[in-house]
Amino acid sequence: MSLVARYLEENKIPTVVVGSARDIVEECGVPRFLFTDFPLGNPCGKPWDKTMQRSIMDMALELLQFARQPRTTVQAPFIWSEDEAWRKVFMHVSEERREEYIKAGEARRAEQARVKGKLKKKDGDLTS
């Protein structure tokens, strides 16, 4: 996503990224970034909260209009919840589940290999 923003900007279309993975976006480096400190999934505001969503949209548009230099990050003034338990859920590795992760990783790699083989065969059939 950040690479697309950079490419468009290089080709004279101004962009603003709206997202919640701040380190990934800033590490890549984008012209304008509106950061929402929420769990991944709702960067444009909480579900069904139209007022918050509109406020975030307005902030993104203001960034488009008023940012003066690249790497301009603005943080939306909203919190997900007073309880911050959500910060310790997604992608957290639990010691008790180590074996489960290894098995899931093996299954994922096997499925990737199967699908890649299938697509390669399909390409071969088309070109032969």
């Binding site: 603003v16 480096g29 999934g41 505001g45 969503q53 940012a67 992608m91």
Partner: protein, 172 residues
Amino acid sequence: MRTAMITRRPYGSFLSYIDLSREYYAAHGYPKPYKWISHQNVPFIKLKKPLPECRVALLTTTDLKKLPGESAQERHLSRKVYAQPVDDAPEHFYTQDLQWDQESTHTDDNNSFMPLNRLSECAADGKIGSASPRFYGVMTDYSQGKASKESAPQVLEFCREDGVDALILPAL
């Protein structure tokens, strides 16, 4: 008047997904950590005209749908960049197989990650000139070469076809 909440922490408030994903994939048996791209220089261009005269578009990382019987991997590897008329936006974008926090939240409301309605309201209010008649979609790809050489030029072409002046990119 409500007093502003002050929290003190021995760590940074926002999560580092670079660190989290490195540990997560290492635990899943991936020996080499993914190398996130890092640029020194960042391009920048100002809007060519006032916002109330601009046409603005949205780009999502979510999918329109998954075909029956298609596995997550099959879908991921066969996904293409797309442009879709706003009037034909899906009732629910397909997000299930993407990386987001499915334990803490949900994606039942499109506008929480793809705010087509909010953008259309901005056009109706005159805050922007118009919303693009089409929105665009790219896959979140582990291949940085593919993102730069295939997806980005295709999105640029869509933007030019639609006369887009600025693009908003909500990353799920």
